[in-house]
C-alpha cells in the first residue's frame, strides 16, 4: 500500500516536472532582451531548473499529504470556521474594539507618515469594499467595472472643485449623486443580463469610461490628468504653512505649531467617518424591505418575480447605491491626491475591490475589513517585487475560490427574527 503510493507519487511528480518544464522553459528560461534595438534571447536555465524541481517535489509532498488526510477525514476542523465562529460570538465587542482602535490609531507612537498613508489607503479600500458589497454581496450582481464609479466620483469632484471653487462638503454629495446617476444610467440597460454576461458588460463599461477620460482632453486633460484639486479644509480652516494674508489656518486657529501630519490625520478621520457611514448605511438598509429583496434576488430571481418583486428596480437601487458610495470614495481620493489621471482607474483596481468583497465572504461587512487587511497587506509586503506581488494577488484569488469559495466569513445572520418580534 505505502510502496504503491510512493511509486504513484514519484510518477506523478515526474509528470508535474515535465509540465513545469514546458510551462516555464520558454517564458522564464528564454528571456527576450533588447540589445542595440534588436531582441536577443538570454537563457536563464538555472531558474527554470529550480522551479521545475520545486514543482515536482511540491507535487510529491502534496500527494502524500492528501493521501494521509484522506485517511483521517473528518477530524480536521478548518481555521476559517474557527475564526468565523469566534467572530460570531464576540462580533459586537470586536467591532467596538476595532472602531476604538481606528480612532486612536493616529496617536499611536508608531503611526508615522508611512503607516498613516497605508491606513488611509486601507480605509479607502474598506469603504469601496463596503460599497461594492451592496452590489455583489447582497444583490449578487458581479460588477467588474466598479472603478468607473470611483472615477466618476473623483473627476466630478475635481471638476466642480477646480472650476467652481466649491468646498469639499458641497462637492462630495454632488460627486456621489453623479456617480449614483451614472449607476442608474449604466444599470438600466444591462441589469437583466445573466450573471457572467453582466460581469463582462460592466467590465466593458469600466474600460469605456477610462478610454473616455483618456481622450476627452478638453474636459479631463487626458493622460496628463487634473492637477491642483483643492485640499479639504477643517470647517473652512485650511492646512497650510504659509496662508494668504489675513486667512486663519488650522494651526493658527488652534494655536498649534504647523505640522504636515495635521492634514494627514484630518484626511484619516475623514475617510474613517465616510467608511463608517457606508457601513452603518449598509447594515441598516439590509434590514429594510429593499435590502431583503436584494438578497432574495441573489437567491432566486424567478421566485422573486412570482412574489411580485420588481427585479429591475430592485437591482437598480443596489447598483445606484453602490455606485454612490464609490463616488464618495472617489471624491475623497481626488482631494487626498490633489491630482488624478485615468491611470488610477484601471481594471486592476476593480479586480482588487472584487477580490476584497469575495474573499471577505459575500455580504459580510466584517469580512471586507479582514480581507482588505490581508490583501492590501499582501500587496504592501511584496511592494519591492513589482509584478510578483500581483502574481501573488491573482494566485490568492484562485486559492480562495478553491478552498473557501464563500469567503472567510460565510455565515449570514437573518435580517429579522421571530424571537424578537413574536
Amino acid at each position: 500500500m505505502g510502496k504503491d503510493l510512493i511509486q504513484k507519487s514519484v510518477k506523478d511528480s515526474l509528470f508535474t516536472g515535465i509540465i513545469a518544464l514546458a510551462l516555464f522553459g520558454p517564458i522564464v528560461g528564454l528571456r527576450t532582451v533588447a540589445k542595440n534595438e534588436v531582441l536577443v534571447v538570454e537563457p536563464k536555465w538555472l531558474v527554470v531548473l529550480l522551479i521545475v524541481i520545486f514543482c515536482a517535489v511540491g507535487r510529491f509532498f502534496i500527494n502524500i499529504y492528501t493521501f494521509k488526510k484522506e485517511q483521517r477525514r473528518g477530524e480536521s476542523s478548518s481555521l476559517g470556521k474557527a475564526i468565523a465562529h469566534f467572530l460570531d460570538e464576540k462580533g459586537a465587542q470586536i467591532a467596538i474594539g476595532a472602531i476604538a482602535f481606528s480612532i486612536i490609531f493616529p496617536f499611536m507612537p508608531f503611526a508615522d507618515r508611512y503607516w498613516m498613508d497605508i491606513a488611509i489607503m486601507m480605509m479607502t479600500y474598506i469603504m469601496l469594499g463596503w460599497g461594492l458589497n451592496i452590489v455583489i454581496g447582497l444583490a449578487g450582481l458581479l460588477d467588474l467595472g466598479y472603478v468607473a464609479f470611483y472615477a466618476v466620483g473623483a473627476y466630478s469632484y475635481a471638476l466642480f472643485a477646480i472650476h467652481f471653487g466649491w468646498s469639499f462638503w458641497i462637492c462630495l454629495p454632488i460627486a456621489g449623486l453623479f456617480a449614483g446617476m451614472f449607476g442608474i444610467l449604466l444599470g438600466f440597460p444591462v441589469l437583466r443580463l445573466r450573471g457572467d454576461y453582466l460581469a463582462i458588460v460592466t467590465l466593458a463599461f469600466g474600460e469605456m469610461i477610462r478610454i473616455l477620460l483618456l481622450n476627452w482632453y478638453e474636459l479631463t486633460k487626458g493622460p496628463d490628468g487634473l492637477t491642483g484639486i483643492p485640499r479639504p479644509s477643517f470647517f473652512g480652516l485650511p492646512f497650510k504653512r504659509y496662508p494668504d494674508e489675513g486667512v486663519e489656518t488650522f494651526h493658527t486657529f488652534f494655536g498649534l505649531e504647523y505640522d504636515p501630519m495635521q492634514r494627514i490625520i484630518f484626511l484619516y478621520y475623514l475617510i474613517l467617518i465616510l467608511a463608517l457611514i457606508t457601513n452603518a448605511f449598509t447594515i441598516k438598509i439590509r434590514k429594510l424591505p429593499v435590502g431583503r429583496a436584494w438578497e432574495a434576488l441573489r437567491e432566486d430571481e424567478i421566485a422573486c418575480k412570482s412574489l411580485g418583486v420588481n427585479p429591475r428596480n430592485t437591482k437598480l437601487t443596489a447598483f445606484a447605491v453602490g455606485a454612490m458610495f464609490g463616488g464618495f470614495a472617489g471624491s475623497f481620493f481626488a482631494t487626498r491626491q490633489a491630482f488624478i489621471s485615468p491611470e488610477s482607474f484601471t481594471f486592476i483596481e476593480s479586480a482588487i475591490i472584487v477580490a476584497i468583497v469575495v474573499l471577505g465572504g459575500m455580504g459580510s461587512q466584517t469580512g471586507v475589513v479582514l480581507s482588505t487587511i490581508f490583501l492590501i497587506g499582501l500587496i504592501e509586503v511584496f511592494r519591492d517585487f513589482e509584478s510578483y506581488r500581483m502574481v501573488a494577488f491573482g494566485g490568492a484569488m484562485v486559492l480562495i475560490m478553491i478552498f473557501r469559495p464563500r469567503g472567510i466569513l460565510a455565515k449570514r445572520k437573518p435580517t429579522i427574527t421571530m424571537g424578537k418580534h413574536g
Binding site: I19, A22, L23, F24, G25, P26, I27, V28, L30, R31, T32, V33, A34, V38, L39, V40, V41, G140, L142, L144, P189, V190, L193, G195, D196, Y197, A199, I200, V201, L203, A204, F205, E207, M208, I211, L212, L214, N215, I302, F347, I348, A351, V354, A355, V358, E386, S387, Y388, M390, V391, F393, G394, G395, A396, M397, V398, M401, I402, P405, R406
Partner: protein, 303 residues
C-alpha cells in the same frame, strides 16, 4: 473605393485573429458554461512563445516555410500546456461550486498570467523584425494603392485550413462527439462511460492551441507585443463569440470577422483613438439586444 477595399482586407485579416481566439471562448462556454477570462492571456502567452521561437530560428539557416510550420507547432504545444494547466488548477476544483466562483478564479488566473509574463519577460514592448515581407499592389495608377501582403494571405489561409480541420474534428471524430455530448448533459455523458474530465481537458488544449496560432499571427502582423495584449484582444474575441452566438463554432469565426471589420472600419472612417470603444459598444449592444447572436440557440428560461 480603394480605401474601402484596403480596410476590408485589413479587417478580414484582423478578424481571422479574433475568430481563432473566439473559438476558445465559445468551446469552453459550450462545454462547462463559464467565461474563461484567462483565455485572452493564453493568447498572449502564445504570442510570446512565438516571438521567442522566431528569434531563436532567426539564428539558424532553416528555410522560411519550415520555420513558419515549426513556430506554429511549438507555439501550439507550449501554449496548450498553459491551457491545460489553467483548467486543472483553477477551474476543475470549482465545477460544483457556486456560479460566480469559476469566473472569479478565472479573473485571478488572468492577473497571474499577465504579471507572470511581465516578471519573466519584462514590461517593455517587444518588437519583431518582419518575417514575411512584400505583397501584391492593386490600383497602382490611382491616388491610393491597395496592398494585399503575403502575410495577410498567409494569415487568412492558415485560418481557413485550421477551421476546416477543426470542423472535421468536431463533426467526425469520437472526441468531437464526446464534446457535443458533454455540452448537452455532463452527468449523462459520464454515465455512458465517456471520460468527461479528459474531454474538458481536450477542449482547453484545442482552444489554447487555436489561440496560440492567433498569437503567432498577431506577433507577425503587428510586430509588437507586450504582456497586456491579452486583455483587449480577449474582450474583443469574447465579443466576437457572443456576436456569432456563444456555443456555436462557425458563429465564433463569423463574429471574429465582423469584429475585425467593425474595428478597422471604425478606425479608418471615424476615430482611431476610440477604436476600442467600437468593440466595447458592440459588445454591450449585442448582449443587450441580441444575446443569442447570429448562430446561437435561443435560451428559453426554464421555470
Amino acid at each position: 473605393m480603394e480605401y474601402f477595399l484596403q480596410q476590408l482586407i485589413n479587417g478580414l485579416t484582423l478578424g481571422s485573429v479574433y475568430g481563432l481566439i473566439a473559438i476558445g471562448y465559445t468551446m469552453v462556454y459550450g462545454i462547462i458554461g463559464m467565461i474563461n477570462f484567462a483565455h485572452g492571456d493564453i493568447f498572449m502567452v502564445g504570442a510570446f512563445v512565438a516571438l521567442i521561437a522566431f528569434i531563436l530560428f532567426a539564428l539558424t539557416s532553416i528555410a522560411l516555410p519550415i520555420i513558419l510550420i515549426l513556430v506554429l507547432l511549438i507555439a501550439m504545444v507550449f501554449t496548450a500546456c498553459y491551457g491545460w494547466t489553467v483548467e486543472k488548477l483553477a477551474y476543475k476544483p470549482l465545477r460544483k461550486s457556486f456560479r460566480l466562483a469559476p469566473l472569479i478564479s478565472a479573473l485571478g488566473m488572468s492577473i497571474v498570467l499577465q504579471n507572470y509574463v511581465q516578471a519573466a519577460q519584462g514590461a517593455r514592448i517587444k518588437t519583431l523584425q518582419p518575417v514575411i515581407q512584400g505583397g501584391f499592389n492593386f490600383f497602382k495608377d490611382s491616388s491610393f494603392v491597395v496592398t494585399l501582403s503575403y502575410l495577410q494571405i498567409f494569415i487568412v489561409l492558415v485560418t481557413i485550413v485550421l477551421m476546416a480541420v477543426f470542423t472535421l474534428l468536431i463533426t467526425r471524430t469520437a472526441l468531437g462527439r464526446a464534446q457535443r455530448a458533454c455540452e448537452q448533459d455532463r452527468t449523462m455523458t459520464a454515465l455512458m462511460g465517456i471520460n468527461v474530465d479528459r474531454t474538458i481537458s481536450m477542449t482547453f488544449i484545442i482552444g489554447s492551441s487555436l489561440a496560440s496560432v492567433a498569437g503567432v499571427m498577431f506577433v507577425m502582423y503587428y510586430g509588437v507585443i507586450d504582456f497586456y495584449i491579452g486583455f483587449l484582444a480577449g474582450i474583443k474575441a469574447f465579443t466576437a463569440a457572443v456576436l456569432g452566438g456563444i456555443g456555436s463554432i462557425p458563429g465564433a469565426m463569423l463574429g471574429g470577422l465582423l469584429i475585425g471589420l467593425i474595428e478597422t472600419f471604425w478606425s479608418g472612417y471615424i476615430s482611431i483613438e476610440y477604436k476600442d470603444i467600437a468593440a466595447f459598444t458592440t459588445l454591450v449592444i449585442v448582449l443587450i439586444f441580441f444575446p443569442t447572436g447570429f448562430l446561437g440557440k435561443p435560451d428559453i428560461e426554464k421555470v
